[in-house]
């Protein structure tokens, strides 16, 4: 049996310590979980389920858009689908998945026994379950799910039925969960590093997550404020955003995007961390420019607070406002470019092999950069006037969130999966998953650039006939992409969880470095119970 499903009885020495803590079995092990590895597993499984739910919604959208005319859903349901697809993917899939990675890997990478606040860790996971149920069940409430778009712009939100309140409540809970998770990560990284693991020797994944956690703590309350004001506008007669009472709908957008833009980096910085671990491992060469990577991450995080209004160029900002936000946005390209250059310099004159984690990491760099460049084009305010709210924007953010965040997570699963489960995945299947995903992803989203340039607005249930062919191509690609992820679950993840496959050694990757490879595979239930003594580069345990 593998680590994920059952730890006990597998690992002789570590087992001796286990019974002292009375490690629970059965459902108690998961419901009362305080072990960072178990909670990490829970997070990852939860986010994968939400990825599937959000994916089904996306396929419903693409099925409707396969041809012009309404075939499957009415426009109201269509708006519910786009709204819920966005909310579920952002808050249910991507964010929790990275928290799952953090839970599993941060204590292992810094030589800590567990997360700093083990019980709060449990709470921050289990809070997500009722929130997710509330969110998904809003489809069955009177009037259906919220249909105001994932951005929940006022005053459209004021016209929504009771499900809007359910949605807001769910977001509040998810936000609380995120804040707890972030505090836990910050405290763990700052206080629980093994002696010798100085900040500037930490793996980049820990660095990117440390910065991400600060971003989360800074902006989740902003979101909570925005949606609470929406709630009181809806029910308690306030007029924060309600123009009928003198409120300002544009103010909602400012507040939302003050949260929303750092949120974008919350969803990509941990991905940078994962890729920064994988590229050196498979190039068999140290990461190029570690220090500049840390500074670039911090600069991206700081700049992310100063660019929010580039989402609002068409609201009619004064000319100085447009110019400021255009310049600030373009500036983000600089530290992002530094990262890309550093990764390529790491690969340069390395000794590369291309197992699945490396394929996904290289795929990430290649396709994410396309999303980065369309972002740069969108930052040019006059061009954005043409592209705002068209499919070009849809293409752009799927290039950075699917080919960016999701690909990095796949890379991470293949890279650390052997550590989690104790077995190797099947390399052929991994390669099928990679190439299938890469091709179908581009078939889905590349034509959307053309649709956007031609002016097809997003969030449209039906469209002029001239847009038909590209929409048909995108829909075919979307179903292919969806099927690849089902394949991934049944042919890669499930066999690993069941322990079927070649046994993994403690360090299955020749060039991998870091403390996580110093413990056996699967990682025992308890690791680093006494602080390890590290070598000079803090990558190996020497006693």
């Amino acid at each position: 049996m593998s680590a994920v499903l059952d730890h006990h009885g597998d690992h002789g020495h570590a087992h001796d310590h286990d019974h002292d803590h009375g490690a629970p079995h059965g459902w108690r092990r998961w419901l009362y979980a305080t072990n960072h590895k178990d909670i990490g597993t829970l997070y990852l499984l939860f986010s994968f389920s939400m990825l599937m739910v959000g994916g089904v919604l996306a396929l419903a959208i693409r099925a409707e858009l396969f041809q012009p005319g309404l075939q499957f859903v009415n426009p109201q349901l269509f708006n519910q689908l786009t709204t819920m697809h966005g909310l579920i993917m952002v808050f249910g899939a991507i964010m929790p998945a990275f928290v799952g990675f953090a839970n599993w890997m941060i204590p292992l990478q810094i030589g800590a026994a567990d997360m700093a606040f083990a019980r709060m860790n449990n709470l921050s996971f289990w809070l997500m379950i009722p929130a997710a149920i509330t969110l998904v069940s809003s489809f069955f409430m009177p009037g259906g799910a919220p249909a105001a778009g994932w951005t929940l712009y006022a005053p459209l939100t004021l016209q929504m039925g009771p499900s809007m309140d359910a949605g807001i409540f769910a977001m509040h809970i998810l936000g609380a969960s995120s804040i707890m998770g972030s505090i836990n990560i910050v405290v763990t990284i700052l206080n629980m590093r093994a002696p010798g693991m100085t900040l500037m020797k930490m793996p980049l994944f820990c660095w990117t997550w440390l910065i991400t956690a600060y971003l989360l703590i800074a902006v989740m309350p902003v979101l909570a404020g925005a949606i609470t004001m929406t709630l009181t506008d809806r029910h308690f007669g306030t007029s924060f955003f309600n123009p009928a009472g003198g409120g300002d709908p544009v103010m909602y957008q400012h507040i939302f995007w003050f949260f929303g833009h750092p949120e974008v980096y919350i969803m990509i910085l941990p991905a940078f961390g994962i890729v920064s671990a994988i590229i050196p491992a498979f190039a068999r060469k140290r990461l190029f420019g570690y220090t500049s990577m840390v500074y670039a991450t911090a600069s991206i995080a700081i700049l992310s607070f100063m660019v929010w209004a580039h989402h609002m160029f068409t609201t009619g900002m004064p000319v100085t406002g447009q110019l400021f936000f255009m310049y600030a946005t373009m500036l983000i390209a600089v530290p992002t470019g530094v990262k890309i250059f550093n990764w390529i310099a790491t690969m340069w004159r390395g000794s590369m092999t291309f197992e699945t984690p490396m394929l996904f990491a290289v795929g990430f760099i290649f396709v994410f950069t396309m999303g980065g460049f369309t972002g740069l084009i969108l930052s040019v305010a006059p061009v954005d006037i043409q592209m705002q709210d068209t499919y070009y924007v849809v293409a752009h953010f799927h290039y950075v969130l699917v080919a960016g965040s999701l690909y990095a997570m796949f890379a991470g699963v293949y890279y650390w999966g052997p550590k989690w489960t104790g077995v190797m995945y099947n390399e052929t299947r991994g390669k099928i998953h990679f190439w299938g995903s890469l091709i179908f992803f581009n078939v889905t989203f590349f034509p959307m650039h053309f649709l956007g340039l031609a002016g097809m607005p997003r969030r449209y249930a039906d469209y002029p006939m001239q847009f038909a062919d590209f929409n048909a191509i995108a829909s075919v690609g979307a179903f292919g992409f969806g099927l690849m992820q089902v394949y991934f679950f049944f042919f890669v993840v499930l066999p690993m969880m069941r322990g079927k496959g070649e046994r993994a050694s403690a360090k299955p990757w020749e060039g991998a470095e870091g403390l996580e490879w110093e413990v056996p595979s699967p990682a025992p239930f308890h690791t680093f119970e006494t602080p390890p003594k590290l070598n000079a580069s803090a990558t190996k345990v020497i006693a």
Partner: protein, 389 residues
């Protein structure tokens, strides 16, 4: 730039064409819509304004820079992927740091983005300059139609609502779309003259909408409770199409925009025809009214405009004079009261000449025949018209 542009377009078309071969069976009979989307269009709409032209230029400028960098950077990466493989016996080098290199690849992109920002700045400033317009039109977004009001310039006072042609919505529901202007056909297009600076003021009645016409390079949110503006100067006569670009509820996809750009002569003709049509709908000032009809109409005008000061009882309050039993009201010379309404009095009573002839005639007749005033006098709209001159 144009050569590069046409090369880009051709390359994209070639790639897209291959992909589309598979789908030719699915494709329904549809042609390009001039001023609207073309079939499998790969680029912005052909520009009809200077701003749209500048936007297209900026787009190619930034895109070409991005593509060149992309090809350069990933050329290096793919070379490395091919050459520095373990299977080819590559031995890993040892370097992992170089401050010089880091500084270079921070400074160079920084200079490149400044290069991109400079021409963009010029266009932002031009886009936002809505001053000295020849024609000002207020656009009101409503769920789910557009209201157009001509505020200033030729055609001032015109106003109408523009909605999607009903047959289009039925075709959509039935899942049987057809026509080149599917979902883009409206009942009343917005009509503007060619080569004139048109300032568009946007607002909305309910939720946020966005007024967009790609050929003009304009997109401006219409926000309830706020006014925003944008402008265009169309350089070619024709029909131009756009769609609402901000999620506004259920029928978001069904509130298209159709702007008809016509020659100055045709515009003048159109305005005259509209004004005649509007006048036909409005009150005819030459109509001769019966006393009862006119007092009934007058009561409405009184309650809406006068009762706030003069009170419903006609007694007035404080500095506001009573109408009930007032000498001016009771006077047999009707022009005395008419003059007060048209010109105001003593800086307390404002002038009411913005009311129509019929409204003024009605409210005077009402005051002359209400409360204790029983003069039996009827003031006809024609008398007001005469007094105005």
């Amino acid at each position: 730039m144009n050569k590069m542009k046409s090369f880009c377009v051709k390359a994209c078309q070639a790639v897209a064409g291959l992909g589309l071969l598979m789908f030719t069976k699915l494709a329904m009979a549809v042609n390009d819509l001039p001023g609207g989307p073309a079939v499998n269009q790969l680029d912005f709409h052909p520009a009809v304004t200077k701003i749209a032209e500048e936007q297209a230029w900026l787009h190619y400028f930034t895109m070409i820079i991005c593509v060149v960098i992309f090809v350069g950077v990933f050329g290096v990466m793919f070379y490395s992927i091919l050459a520095h493989r373990k299977s080819k016996g590559a031995k890993p080098a040892n370097f992992h740091e170089s401050t010089t290199v880091e500084i270079i690849w921070t400074i160079v992109p920084f200079i490149i983005v400044i290069m991109m920002a400079l021409p963009a700045t010029k266009v932002v400033v031009a886009m936002k300059d809505t001053s000295s317009a020849d024609l000002t039109i207020k656009v009101t977004g409503m769920q789910w139609k557009w209201g157009y009001d001509y505020l200033k310039g030729e055609g001032e006072g015109l106003g109408f609502v523009s909605t999607l042609d009903a047959a289009q919505r039925q075709m959509s529901d039935a899942g049987e779309p057809s026509g080149d202007d599917y979902l883009l056909k409206v009942d009343n297009p917005l009509v503007v003259p060619v080569d004139k600076k048109v300032r568009i003021i946007t607002t909305a009645n309910d939720v946020i909408h966005a007024f967009a016409v790609p050929s003009f390079g304009i997109k401006q949110d219409a926000i309830p409770g706020f006014v925003r503006d944008t402008w265009f100067r169309a350089e070619k006569v024709g029909d131009y199409h756009g769609q609402c670009q901000e999620l506004c509820g259920k029928e978001h996809a069904y509130m298209p925009i159709h702007v008809k750009v016509v020659s100055q002569a045709d515009y003048t003709k159109w305005v005259e025809a509209q004004q005649v049509a509007m006048a036909a709908k409005a009150d005819d000032p030459t109509k001769v009214w019966e006393l009862a009809d006119l007092t009934a109409r007058g009561e409405k005008v009184y309650n809406a405009n006068c009762a706030a000061c003069h009170q419903a009882s006609g007694k007035g309050a404080g500095a506001v004079k009573a109408l009930d039993g007032a000498a001016v009201v009771l006077d047999a010379d009707k022009t005395k009261e008419i003059m007060v309404l048209l010109n105001g009095q003593n800086n307390i009573m404002p002038a009411w000449k913005q009311l129509s002839d019929t409204e003024i005639a009605a409210v005077i007749t009402y005051t002359k025949n209400n409360w204790s005033n029983k003069t039996g006098q009827v003031v006809q709209p024609a008398e007001i018209l005469a007094a105005r001159n």
